[in-house]
């Protein structure tokens, strides 16, 4: 399961929020062009991993390392990480009144891509992606996430991903709250609007999204650790059997009850 020339390498990552340890030693390697899924019951630290990778300030990394193309990610500010090619599609994106989608995205695009596209040049680029994602034209003039429905917010996240074409796209519960049509459009965006060598980390509770975004690797997280890793078949097994067998096997401690040594 190891990848030579990894894009992202996470070693023994431990993260505290408000003095409570949430991630208790996560190990993960993601190679270029790979699709990884992290599944698990609610409250096991899946989203914490996503925000810790993106550099959220209140998340305290107590040990471990994260490198992207060999560079230490943990030393970078959130915007440096983004410019390095990391993108997080938020589960609950913030509303930013008065800032239009197109203006904001143009600033982001020019910053990340080190370009200086004019309003008109950028508008063409944006229009193309919006058509692909079946987003209405009027959308680009609306204030960022303000008054958006749940589905619109998710679609807006994928639109941003499509414009910024990151090396690593982390999708935090992007499937939650989406109907099947919206889910298919979002998945199509991830499959077709990202470059071939972009990697994807899908964080999800349900197997549903993985029918449309096919994972190369599926990881299960329980109590702040990745306890099982497999291929697409692992997701199917979870769909059929739920998480209970894993909870029984690893318990609340995240340790294999049948095998006392820590799982890595």
């Amino acid at each position: 399961m190891t990848t030579e020339n990894g894009l992202l390498t996470i070693k023994d990552l431990k993260v505290k929020i408000n003095d409570k340890e949430i991630l208790k030693g996560v190990n993960l390697k993601i190679g270029p062009g790979e699709v990884h899924a992290i599944m698990g019951p609610n409250g096991t630290g899946k989203s914490t991993l996503a925000y810790a990778l993106a550099g959220k300030a209140s998340y305290e990394v107590t040990s471990g390392s994260v490198t992207m193309e060999g560079e230490n990610v943990l030393d970078m500010s959130p915007d440096e990480r983004a410019r390095k090619g990391m993108f997080l599609a938020f589960q609950y994106p913030s509303e930013v009144p008065g800032v239009t989608v197109d203006n904001f995205l143009r600033v982001a695009y020019n910053t990340v891509k080190k370009k200086e596209l004019s309003i008109w040049e950028f508008r063409n680029l944006l229009k193309e992606k919006m058509e692909f994602l079946k987003i209405d034209e009027s959308f680009s003039g609306r204030y960022l996430n303000e008054g958006f429905s749940g589905g619109e917010k998710k679609r807006n996240e994928i639109l941003q991903m499509a414009v910024l074409t990151p090396k690593l796209a982390i999708l935090d519960e992007t499937d939650s709250g989406l109907d099947i049509d919206a889910l298919q459009i979002v998945a199509k965006g991830v499959n077709e609007l990202l470059p071939e060598d972009s990697s994807v980390l899908v964080i999800t509770h349900y197997q549903r999204i993985l029918r449309y975004i096919k994972p190369d690797f599926v990881h299960v997280m329980i109590n702040g650790k990745i306890v099982e890793t497999g291929g697409g078949e692992l997701a199917e097994k979870l769909e059929e059997q739920g998480y209970d067998w894993l909870k029984e096997k690893y318990g609340e401690s995240g340790k294999d009850n049948n095998n006392v040594t820590a799982n890595n």
Partner: protein, 467 residues
Amino acid sequence: MSLPTTDIGTEEYKYGFSDDVKPEIKFEKGLSRQTVEDISNIKNEPGWMTETRLKAYEIFLEKPMPEWGADLSDIDFDDIIYFVRASDRKMTNWDDVPAEIKETFEKLGIPESERKFLAGAEAQYDSESVYGALQGEWEKQGVIFVDTDTALREHEKLLRKYFGSVVPATDNKLAALNTAVWSGGSFLYIPKGVRVGLPLQAYFRINTQNMGQFERTMIIADEGSNVQYIEGCTAPTYTTNSLHSAVVEIICKKDSRVRYTTLQNWSGNVYNLVTKRAQAYENATMEWIDANLGSKVTMKYPSVYLMERGAKADVISIAFANTGQHQDVGSKVVHLAPYTTSKILSKSISKGKGRSTYRGLVKIHEGMEGCKSNVNCDALLLDEASATDTYPYIEIEDPTAAIEHEATVSKLSDEQIFYLQQRGVPEDEARNMIINGFIEPFTKLLPLEYAVEMNRLIELQMEGSVG
């Protein structure tokens, strides 16, 4: 910060008053009946204006200082020179202009020639190239756009009819003071049915007269006319005077529409106490667009009296209170006729130890049926030390009125900043983006070049803020 003071009394008389018949009058600090008479005499004003000034002076003496708002206890009326002749106005030495002001000019990209003018180190700014051609066009249509002293000489009848009719000297102590000692300001008359396409900008008309502390501005929009007027600019107005107390009177006749935009950024030593009021008649619309930055204390509540059926008031203001500043601003709308409408949107940003106050009044009198009013006050606090308070008085005497009122206080949220940062935008820029978004409902009403300057100015205000 110690500032050079204007003290012409002790200076040798350099540019003598050209009219030899007049006795030499020296204006010392402080105010008396004699000072008021001297001001009027030296300008050769008609007797009724001298009388108006003297009456106002008595009212000024009687009226108490307003104590319901910001702290004004440091104002010393005896330490102010109330009149400076244009020809005597001592230019500020450019070398004495504080470094931070110069730096701001630099950062705002204000051209060299304008910088000296804005800092009071140069008396005139050549506006001919900007307005020369247009002015001829307006004059043909009967538009009058002159400084108020000129208007008193050349359009006395018109001025006399409206002077003090919207803001009488009895209104408040500072309006009385202005009436007693006013100089300069703009006088604008738009004849029936005339629409002035471009905004008229007082900035380009500024001369030493209406840079004054006590300017008096009047706009009379005749029936069916339409005009936009812009005063000030985003560059900091550097002045050694500690009190700026203007009066603005506007008359919007039937079916007319007036938009009055103010962008002011006073230096931090200034008390900015301004009375602005408009009367709107049948189906007329009055819009106040008002930005307040800088100054030590600003108290300003642009108001509209809705006089006849169908009149509308639209007031949108922003205030930025930085450390050492108190912006006590808001709006007042009085519904004196049925089926009148008002809309007030007030946005304030407080930073450091800055304090912003919204103070507003909407009054709908008994029997004025079918009135509508919508009031929104949004305050944004940038850090723990900053403060805001809201006093939205709403007095409704008619049961058919439709009133909406909403007030919000928000803090610059870490979630928003993180979200924008995650898209590659550096933290400072993310912060500015959120703040500029917050005032966007205001900036979108400004002409583009002003909107751009406004955003840049906010960014300058934000510099050095700690995350």
